[in-house]
């Protein structure tokens, strides 16, 4: 373990408490399951383009031979699909219970993922590098964002890619994500998010640049409450996803 931990203990404990129901699409994490296909589709398409694998997308394992690190993997909602798409996946989480549940689920499903209970800085210090690093719905839970991005940035190999997704800190997100999502719609258990830790796109790009990454496309992910569906848009005021590369 490194001297400075980037995960705050309260955050870790909160998620571990909910971990049992990670994989129930009608359970507590229903919104994440609803939202998952959109972000996976984006990740798949951007990475296929970046690594020249677009023509292989209709095959069995389009990303064979590429190493991917999923930081803050939770129950494995992203790690498992990435493994099925052919990536050699390492997935880490600061919550020990999450990692155990994710590993158990992957074994049941016959999917190979290397799950580890550790922090990104632990792996970074081991000198590990990856073709792709994913930090999806993670940075809003991190105590020291600059330090966190330094660690993950180091692990992207030159020519590799990093994708981050998070919630913007806007008046709308304060109302919607905090009171709307957690209290009114009851998407996520109460207390999942602290609005003050939400990250503006400009802050994220600054931290990325300091970590040696080149931020690229940013897209909004917008929820349509009446259709109960998600869509990629240009509206960054709530959920957004950012693609970056390492020169």
């Amino acid at each position: 373990m490194s001297a400075i931990s980037t995960a705050s203990p309260e955050e870790t404990a909160k998620f571990a408490a909910m971990a049992d129901s990670w994989w129930d699409p009608e359970g507590k994490f229903k919104p994440l399951h609803k939202f998952n296909p959109l972000r996976i589709g984006y990740v798949r398409d951007r990475l296929a383009e970046h690594f020249g694998r677009t023509d292989r997308l209709e095959g069995e394992t389009p990303f064979e031979g590429l190493r991917l690190l999923d930081v803050g993997c939770g129950g494995g909602l992203i790690a498992e699909p990435m493994a099925r798409l052919g990536f050699d996946v390492t997935a880490i989480d600061a919550g020990e219970k999450n990692v155990k549940i994710a590993a158990l689920h992957a074994e049941q499903s016959g999917v190979k993922v290397d799950y580890r209970h550790c922090l990104p800085e632990d792996l970074a210090e081991e000198g590990k590098t990856y073709d792709v690093v994913l930090i999806l719905e993670v940075v809003e839970h991190v105590a020291d964002l600059a330090h966190f991005l330094q660690s993950v940035g180091r692990m992207v190999r030159p020519g590799g890619a990093l994708i981050a997704a998070t919630l913007n800190r806007t008046a709308k997100s304060l109302v919607m994500a905090k009171f709307g999502a957690e209290y009114v719609v009851r998407w996520l258990p109460r207390g999942t998010h602290d609005w003050r830790k939400f990250v503006k796109p400009s802050e994220l790009t600054d931290h990325m640049r300091h970590a040696g990454l080149t931020p690229g496309e940013v897209k909004g992910m917008t929820y349509h409450p009446f259709a109960d569906s998600w869509e990629m848009t240009g509206d960054l005021s709530m959920n957004y996803i950012m693609f970056a590369t390492k020169p």
Partner: protein
Amino acid sequence: MPQTHPAPPLDVDVLIVGGGLVGGTLAAALAQDGVSTALIDTEDPATLTAPAHDGRASAIALAGQKVFAGTGIWPHMAGHTQPIEDIRVSDGPSLLFLHYDHRQIGTEPLGHMAENRIIREAIHARLKELEAAGKPLAWLAPARVAEIRREAGGARARLDDGRTLTARLVVAADGRGSPTRTAAGIGVRKYDYHQTGIVLTIGHEKPHQGCAFEHFLPAGPFAVLPLPDDPTEGHRSSLVWTERSRLAPAILKLPDDAFQAELESRIGDFLGAVRPLGPRFGYPLSLQHAAAYHARRLVLVGDAAHGMHPIAGQGMNMGLRDIAALAQVVVDSHRLGLDVGGAQVITDYVRWRRFDNMLMLAVTDGLNRLFSNDMALLRTARDLGMAAVDKWPDLKRLFMRHAMGQTGTLPRLMRG
């Protein structure tokens, strides 16, 4: 039993039990899009296409044709189908006609007639083509499922011959009496019509001009559906004669000349002289609907999920709608690396299809009850109703679109 080293299980994404019209088409839809699929059927494919196995013909609605086209099956049957150019409906001795003419909604025919044997041959040809192209398809027939264990992470099937398979999702496409459905403990609600569909192919002197006739007799609908001309037999049609079940066995066993006389009295003379071609088949008619379309790692499609009265010719077309929807949710999940037998896929499929099917079952059941009746008052009411439909173009266009399978939320495969 001799002890041998067990072969490692064959691992696939989707295991389809039942290789009929619906199961076979689903296998083509999935395998062509890279979803690894095993298709199991108890019959040898060669037996299924023998003329004595299935004497029925199907009306393929426009939407169903799109599914066959989208799965690469249509080119293998296109030369052997008969476009339905118009439909004439009459009610007993009444002179009021309901006349569907495809020119009222566009230039495409209302549907196509094809013998089931021809559709099966086309599906088999496509499956062989996909196997030859190296698509991930394992077609195991004849083979019989001995047991399926469905667990949280996936399903494991054992065959009679000792082979084992693992799959993320099991699809029951094994017909009205679906053993897979029964083994999963899913019940069916069933209503017996006490009617039997007598089905046979007839040859006739005059051409049918692509016209389908539906004649409502007190015992039930009597339909003459156009088939393509045959080089040796000449003009042909497929006959569906609904009869009260207690009379049907006697009719099925009538000597040829007596049967022919019964036929002539019902068909009339618009096709000239008629004669039966090949054997007569009797199919008991019942309405049934599965109490659920799913269980853990299992979904039901086609007749395993719903059996209906053939009055509107929608049975196979509803099965094709099921599999077009299922193929879409499975392929979409597969392309994202998601679990194709996970709760989300199953929920999406069931929500999409179950309500639509219940509605169609209710409509066809109601039509049959309305028409299998000889009460004078009811007859007058429906005569006026049919005449009204004929005089009210908007309503008629809606009915015709429904007959063509073009209403509701269409899966991509049905949009062509």
